[in-house]
């Protein structure tokens, strides 16, 4: 009885030495022991989904040149649609923009839209990063100031040309193929026309507007995805009875090397929050959606 026990006892140390022999196992053990949670990258492909900003910022020392275009209302079932080739003859809005990364988390941008001749200066800062085994979300803060240099401005005051946006972007890459985000958004316009009242509830327009945005990307292949975003407005003045609608856009995203293309349909002609949150007058129900595209080309310095 004691003999086999003794043998076993003394063979034990040599056995443990043998089990270390496999170098790969040793490496794996070490790797597992000090594994840091990896940050989740590429939640979205570009800095914008369709209308909504994404959690992504332009990376350090890169410049993102974007052309965003919205054609006219499609109105497929009536004469207006047929005589403008479903809106292709019209350009509701065009925005050219440049975004530059100061660091990998902080970017600044400038853009110019056709609507209200808006020139917007913006800043985005990503302050939280999703981790593979840890923090489930990423978060960023976006803000802009837009100037409308139109010929006539109420009371001829410069301040009346200005509007501002503050936005929190919370996003999660749920699977490699599905990314979702929510965007609590605040828009302040220095001047609004309060003389027109809502036909039913008699409310007037407001300087401060709140909206909650939702966005998602669903990858079908590595380089092809479905995208959609929606902004739910909280304003008594803005409802269907007063011909105001929430901005809803759906589209596809195609990536080819340094370019990202979006082809989409949206009921808003506004491209920046200062426009599409207060001024979406197109209704999906009345076929007032517009074909649009976004093109992004990234340059590295």
């Amino acid at each position: 009885m004691t003999k086999p026990l003794l043998i076993a006892l003394f063979l034990l140390p040599s056995l443990t030495v043998f089990s270390q022999d496999d170098l790969m196992n040793m490496l794996e053990e070490e790797t597992n022991n000090e594994a840091k949670p990896e940050k989740v990258t590429a939640t979205f492909k570009a800095i914008k989904l369709i209308n909504a900003n994404t959690i992504e910022t332009t990376k350090k020392k890169t410049l993102d040149f974007r052309i965003t275009h919205r054609f006219g209302n499609m109105e497929t079932s009536n004469a207006a649609g047929k005589h403008t080739l479903y809106g292709l003859d019209n350009a509701s809005n065009i925005r050219f923009s440049l975004d530059y990364g100061l660091t990998d988390k902080l970017s600044v941008g400038v853009g110019r839209s056709k609507t209200r001749e808006h020139i917007d200066l913006n800043l985005k800062y990503r302050f939280l990063e999703q981790k593979e085994k840890g923090l489930p979300v990423s978060a960023a803060y976006y803000t802009n100031m837009a100037i409308s240099p139109v010929a006539d401005v109420p009371e001829d005051k410069f301040a009346n040309r200005l509007s501002y946006v503050h936005q929190l972007i919370i996003a999660s890459k749920i699977t490699p193929g599905i990314s979702l985000e929510v965007l609590p958004t605040f828009v302040h316009r220095n001047y609004v026309d309060k003389s027109n009242l809502h036909p039913k509830n008699n409310s007037a327009d407001e300087n401060d507007l709140m909206a909650l945005g939702f966005g998602g990307r669903f990858k079908l292949t590595k380089r092809f995805a479905l995208v959609a975003d929606y902004f739910m407005g909280f304003s008594e003045f803005r409802d269907g009875d007063n011909a105001y609608y929430d901005a809803l856009a759906v589209g596809v995203e195609i990536e080819t090397g340094g370019h990202v293309f979006h082809i989409n349909l949206s009921n808003s002609e506004g491209i920046i929050e200062n426009d599409f949150i207060p001024n979406t007058r197109g209704s999906w129900g009345k076929e007032e959606y517009k074909l649009g595209f976004n093109i992004s080309r990234v340059f590295t310095f």
């Binding site: 003394f10 990998d104 590595k222």
Partner: protein, 181 residues
């Protein structure tokens, strides 16, 4: 009889634990280079672990795929998202044995070696013979190697639109310093 077994097993365990001459990577870099007329891609990775057993000439190294750093951030994103699929295939590794009959680990010198073993990249294993050099100097061993990886051997697909930007075969450079563990 009892004393005999006792002493044998004691000797065995002691000698075995002393004979483990394992060297560990203290610093190193794995880089790859893709050259085409349009664009060169150069990526470097210092996030690696490697071990060398000088008793049986076994070598193993593991590199974290997201650790490859590129000159352009977009290249890095595409590497991880589209080509290496780093969320699925977290590491690349090599495990093999070096032909080290002529190596004297205790003596300073430079030895040409061939490592024979399994290269695992993008979840696809390939049996490879890789040439390199071992430099022994003052108790430290430096391993240097340069070899090619054909992307199709590891099922890494390059779409037509970027076929002119990415080489079919990339050159890999390994440079690792080992110290005794």
């Amino acid at each position: 009889m009892k004393t005999f077994i006792l002493s044998i097993s004691l000797l065995l365990s002691v000698s075995l634990s002393f004979s483990q001459n394992i060297y560990k990577a203290v610093q190193g870099e794995i880089a790859f280079f893709s050259e085409t007329p349009i664009e060169n891609i150069d990526a470097h990775n210092t996030n690696l672990k490697a071990l060398l057993n000088t008793d049986n000439n076994e070598i193993a190294f593991v590199v974290t795929n997201v650790g490859f750093k590129f000159e352009k951030p977009l290249m890095e994103e595409h590497f991880n998202e589209n080509y290496m699929e780093s969320d699925k295939y977290k590491v690349s590794s090599f495990k093999g044995t070096i032909s080290g009959d002529l190596i004297e680990y205790a003596k300073d010198g430079e030895y040409p070696v061939t490592a024979k073993g399994t290269l695992d990249v993008h979840g696809v294993s390939q049996e490879r013979e890789i040439k390199g050099t071992l430099i022994v100097k003052g108790g430290m061993i430096t391993m240097k190697s340069e070899f090619n990886i054909a992307l199709k051997d590891h099922k890494i697909k390059i779409p037509k639109v970027v076929v002119q930007n990415i080489a079919e075969t990339v050159k890999v450079t390994v440079n690792i310093d080992f110290e005794k563990k």
